[in-house]
Amino acid sequence: MSGQSFPQDVVAGTQLVIPSIHSPNYVTNVSGWTINLDGSAEFNNLTIRGTFSGTNFIVNSSGAFFYSPSEAFGNLIVSIASAAGTDSFGNAYPQGINVTTGTISGTTISGGTISGTTISGTTFNGSNFVFNASGAFFYSGTPASGNLISSITNASGTDSHGNTYLEGVTSYFFTGSDYTAANMDGGIIQWFRSPSAGGTYTLYSNIGFSWNSINGGSLLLQAGNQVQIGQAGNLVWNEINQQLQVPAGDLVATVSSTPETWHNMPGMSSGWSVGTGFAKYRLTAEGFLAFSFNINSPSTKTDGTTIWATGSLPAAYRPQTASLRWPVSTSAAANSANNTPMIIFQTDGSITITGVNSTGALTTVHAHGVLPLV
């Protein structure tokens, strides 16, 4: 055979009539390029100056836009744009990645603004926060050791920067020398301290709520040292050893929630003694002086005799303004100019007696009562 074969034209008219046109070095998925009769093509690099579009997506100089079920107003479901704008169908989109339908998922998701209906993943990193399987962590500045400021977790642990964190909702603060943490977990508000960002937090105080079926709910305030309540720096309530104490200068009595035990009066003076009797005093719940004197060995009966010396009653048990008088019962008739036998509580803590200067035998003096300490 000899001669010339049919012409090997690539096109018939404007129509490609051969399976493909391709570069000499074309190897599928390796090198070169091809444009195929079936409409497919493969290139190594591609520059598109205008718009690249396909079924339900458009890529142009504004960004990448994906639609469902079709390209129309209200159907923009995903956009990736360098600036906020409106597409050719009237759909507004924000700067960044925006997903309005479906799920964003991945191992690590980080960025400026990520919005969508459902965002799922293992770790979310922001400029100053981290969300991961351990919880949510917020930092002052770039996440690092020492700048954890708050956390929300289901268990205590240590973050990837060496910061110790507590179970629950916690706020952390560096005092300049150590770290404090205000924590709320299981309905209890607690305060902790740690010597370092990665150290162990020690509980110092808490506020809790308790409940029982008989008494109902109770608010519990407790601390390892003291419980204090104050206003504008002024202490108005201080709990030490289960006693309510008011600062000196306002009131002078210590008010206890339980009755004070009786105190014995010290030894008498001017030759007096209780003998076989007794002499006791205490404060009532209202802050009054309760006293019970059964004196069986009196001595000097001159009006104004000091039977208990200065300081015998402590300051909290003395009249505050002026001496206070209290009638007594005696074994002998009084013939003093004062007529009424009485003991006088002095502001210096001493007690004097008057009205018992009788010529008769005075063997017993009784005085029992409750005296307001005005």
Partner: protein, 122 residues
């Protein structure tokens, strides 16, 4: 006494089921063909079958169209010419065949094959 005269063999057919086949060759005893070229044509527009099929027209010489008898082929199914047949001598019973394939949308169109050359007749 034999003599040599020009050869112009013209045969037409119709595309059916997206295919068409036409054939021609020397028929008389003592007729010998010395073809020099074969031309094909088809009315209508370029077919567009689904990829990877492409409309083709193949030329065969022999007793039937097969891989052994294949001579030449073209995608230019609407019109093309080949001189690959030059040098082949055809005796009575031997054929020149043109087979159109994958002629999607061309059913009913007319195909034509023309063989040019010279022939010896008794």
């Amino acid at each position: 006494m034999s003599r040599t005269v020009p050869l112009v063999a013209y045969i037409t057919g119709v595309v059916a089921s997206s295919t068409a086949t036409v054939q021609t060759g020397p028929r008389f005893q003592g007729e010998i063909w010395y073809p020099e070229s074969v031309s094909i044509s088809c009315t209508g527009t370029q077919p567009t079958p689904a990829a990877p099929n492409i409309a083709t027209c193949n030329i065969y010489t022999g007793l039937s169209a097969n891989n052994v008898s294949f001579l030449d082929g073209t995608y230019q199914v609407l019109g093309a010419s080949s001189s690959m047949i030059s040098g082949i001598i055809l005796y009575p019973g031997q054929l020149v065949l043109a087979v159109w394939s994958n002629m999607t949308g061309s059913n009913g169109q007319t195909v034509t094959m023309t063989v040019n050359g010279s022939k010896q007749i008794p």
